[in-house]
Symmetry: C2
Subunit: 268 residues, 2 copies
Amino acid sequence: MHPFDTATLLEPLPDGSFRGHTSPAYANMVGPFGGITAACMLQAPTQHPARLGEPVALTVNFAAALADGEFIVVARPLRTNRSTQHWAIELSQGGEVAASATAVFAMRRETWSAPEAAPPANLPLPDTLTRAALVGRPAWARHYDMRFARGGMPDAFDEALQPDSVSQVWVRDEPRRPLDFIALASLCDSFFPRIFVRRRKVAPIGTVSLTTYFHADAAMLRAQADRHVLGAARALNFRNGYFDQAAEVWSDDWQLLASSHQIVYYRE
Amino acid sequence: MHPFDTATLLEPLPDGSFRGHTSPAYANMVGPFGGITAACMLQAPTQHPARLGEPVALTVNFAAALADGEFIVVARPLRTNRSTQHWAIELSQGGEVAASATAVFAMRRETWSAPEAAPPANLPLPDTLTRAALVGRPAWARHYDMRFARGGMPDAFDEALQPDSVSQVWVRDEPRRPLDFIALASLCDSFFPRIFVRRRKVAPIGTVSLTTYFHADAAMLRAQADRHVLGAARALNFRNGYFDQAAEVWSDDWQLLASSHQIVYYRE
């Protein structure tokens, strides 16, 4: 079994809730990697017998660091329309909420479609780049193959302020695994904190809220299979304890698979 | 009383929930303007006796068109930490959920801060622009003074496909009203649907999920007072029934007050 699937495995309980377990393979500095928690939050409605269609929007709020061990996820369908379905999801440990989420699922149909944003241009392909170093990185980073064209994790935290926090990175699960919505939800949180790129200074940080829009449907994700996708991430603003991150994930034939935003607490 | 305050007035009920009422002043084509619903969703935790700090993030999911009349809002504090507080909010009519939301509130403290995104450059000031026409617009649009520097609502829906959906617009409440978080939450949804700008073609649309990050604190909003703020909005992608919108709201001294994203259903 792929370590990602182990980490996002939810066992249905008789009362309709799900039991999951944190996984050492996706451990972060404190508690699990936020992306894996987001993936577990999306897994619950995806596995739920009442589920309609595919995910379109997911917002995860990280209320507390998870402790290593079991957690319970409850997914409630709030409203089911003809083509959309709204969910409320809560993850708890010891009876206390550690994360909450909302998700919108939908049955898509073919319509007029058009891209508007352009993917980063003139990027070197993943084969021509080397994999980012793993020394000193938390466990979860070992389960992504990341190849930075720009804005990698600084080699040295020398506190040299950078003009921007832009990263462009080819990324895939490691070991290879076919892309699906659950893996994409996690991958959208795999960009290193923008403040590390901008300030080249380590500081305590923690994502408080993460929103992902899925532009892709299942067929596009199947076509992408296990190859690297292109991530582009930047911040708009850092101010008094909170900065944001805007990220896009592109397929290797330059279609937008997801756009993702988060707001992150920082100290100092 | 300002019509915005009437429309977002919530009456506390003995069981801790709130009762609101849709307002004809902010009616949309079907049901109320989404921004006013978002504002009501933020009003509930803001008025709640357990509330800590100021809003940092708000996600509102629009599950159904509201009917004209009363609605009930329930705001539950899910978790209160030292400096952050997580909320789940539900708006219902006749016992059915019409909208759900999550919000993160926080006590901010002074830290290293830096902008990264730049506001649109070389923009004409609001005094040099004329107010957008109101003929044929829904009631809510009359309660904003909008002055488009670029990408206004098309004069004619001639189906001439545009190269992009970018809008740049000076906007304030009409009549004038000092800016606060509730008004800013609403204003973040005041940009016309990107698909109208891009396609110059009317089609049925509806926002399904809206996320706003508040970069400003209360003091910055007080300083902005009742003057126009600058909104910049665009879409990244239109695909099989869903497009996104990325928006920024800038103060008139060029500080980022909010960044806001939404995903919108469309037909055809």
